[in-house]
Symmetry: C2
Subunit: 340 residues, 2 copies
């Protein structure tokens, strides 16, 4: 038989389909005579019965499916998060649908729509902007969501993020400890909470540690990308601002700095030290190995998914926001400033 159905199993066990259904579902098995249940399960086993989740979804309006909304899976930040989510989903018997928005609100809207049409039971969203009308709408529609890495300003949604502020403070402290006084921050997009929080933490840290607080020592990137990092650093260099170290908004921006160093004949860490953020793979093999703040991305995925599943099963109202601890990984891109 191609695909045995519940009725086939029921027939084989000599019971009604409804009984078979009850026997096969652990949640309702108690309603059924233990002996009957065993008989049904054996029949299912021997026929190689696989329940049809589509039919079940149609009936129950629960798809055992969630959606993940990413800017772009190819950003090395996301695979570990996705993996963390998938690992939890698998244990729970859920599946996950992944969409990429390429940071285009139109694409995001249509992709989320398609996710919703599949009756996903919840969303894990990595694309949050500070101003994010779509998320507000979805929240109003009671779509269950957990946000990772970033959060919007207006709407209160459960969030799992690395401790951005703590990480930046570690980075600045590390550089200050090495003797740097004029540190440049290449901030990420100020449309994202991550960009804003890291920039704010930078200012605080610089002030608290008594370092120089020249506003020229902060430059904003429009995107979290190598290209933008390169552009921003070039701009700062071109206007003649002096500094001996860079705290980059993330690793990609730091990598953009590496490109500029190569072009301009600057040596790292001799001329300029750099710290990144995220600790994406293989940073230890760069020239020089990049000092960075390591964030537990797999763990972020795991936590976020657990929270979402809890919210779905109503077991618990998920915590409003979880901050996962980060750590500084000191490598070769930071050293004491060369005295001139």
């Amino acid at each position: 038989m191609a695909n045995p159905t519940l009725r086939d199993v029921a027939e084989a066990a000599g019971v009604h389909a409804a009984t078979a259904s009850r026997a096969l579902n652990p949640e309702t098995r108690g309603l059924v005579n233990a002996e009957t249940a065993r008989r049904v399960m054996r029949a299912a086993e021997s026929l190689g019965y696989v329940p049809n989740p589509i039919a079940r979804s149609l009936k129950t309006a629960r798809s055992r499916t969630i959606g993940m909304v990413l800017p772009d899976l190819m950003n090395p930040l996301f695979p570990p998060i996705v993996r963390g989510v998938q690992d939890v989903l698998r244990e729970a018997g859920y599946s996950g649908l992944i969409v990429n928005t390429d940071n285009d609100p139109g694409v995001e809207r249509s992709q989320v729509g398609s996710l919703l049409s599949w009756h996903v039971e919840g969303l894990i969203v990595a694309t949050a902007l500070l101003e994010h009308p779509l998320l507000e709408e979805l929240h109003k529609q009671k779509v269950k969501m957990v946000l990772v890495n970033r959060r919007p300003e207006k709407v209160e949604l459960p969030t799992v993020t690395p401790d951005d502020a703590g990480g930046v403070e570690m980075a600045v402290r590390h550089l200050a400890g090495l003797g740097h006084r004029r540190i440049l921050h290449l901030a990420g997009p100020q449309t994202t909470s991550t960009g804003v929080i890291r920039a704010r933490a930078f200012s605080h840290a610089v002030r608290d540690l008594g370092l120089e607080t020249d506003p020229a020592l902060v430059e904003r990137c429009e995107y979290w990308s190598e290209d933008e990092g390169a552009r921003a650093l070039t701009a700062v260099l071109d206007r003649g601002t002096e500094f001996t170290a860079v705290v980059a908004g993330n690793d990609l921006i730091a990598l953009g700095c590496y490109d500029v160093f190569a072009t301009r004949g600057l040596r790292c860490p001799d001329d300029i030290s750099v710290v990144g953020f995220n600790d994406m793979p293989f940073l230890d093999k760069l020239r020089p190995p990049l000092t960075t703040v390591s964030a537990p991305h797999h763990q972020i995925g795991v936590e976020a998914c657990r929270m979402l599943l809890e919210a779905i099963s109503e077991k618990a109202r998920p915590a409003r926001s979880v901050l996962l601890p980060v750590s500084l990984v000191a490598r070769g891109s930071t050293a004491a400033p060369t005295s001139r």
Copy 2:
């Protein structure tokens, strides 16, 4: 209204549900009066009707869904392939489910089972081993599949791979051109077609170019991993085999070599040149930048997905195997051997 159904639309348009269905589906719209169709579509629009793909799937036994079977999404090889697949899926109105097998046949079997239970219409498989009973079974069960990157030996399935043999030949030719005579191959797992084909191509190239063909100049890795690359190179070094360059089975194995260089105080490319395979991201920023064979991974995903969709729609029997061209990217990890 929470979720308008087809009947709501039909009512609003003053027609029967069946008519509404026909009007809304582009494939059957021709069967319906153009005016009626327009009325239905307007009603759908104004109610914000979204078809329920679950109900449709149940009826049609076509889920508009495919599955992707990967060893591990966190391997940097896969995100671009996945992205290529997703891009094609999206245009076609399909969704993709991703599973990771961690190279465990048991996990693979159960994960594929779960995919099949969702009635995926086809599979894109990146885990193929030369001996792969599961794939044979699935093939017998007429499951539509396209294999990426690798292929099994026994079963004839459509495949999209980079031109592994051509790539290795380029690598060897490049090194020979620089003056290397004794080149080591750190081969990938010989349970994978990729490992075997690259190893075979290496032998051919070495012979054709008149280089030294010492069997001690090939060492096999059990996995495509940094650790295995390091282990293999260490083993060769320890037995005192002489060589001036390495053709690594892939980039990860090449990165393992970098670790050994660091441990042993060897300089690359001065003491030993290295070539990788795949051109994963950020290789240009390594110390030294890794010379490698660049494979069009996004393109592989795109082609594979197109072939799968064709097979599904029976439009065409997909080509048995597609070889995508590769190119050598010469960077700093290769140079002329130092004369002793």
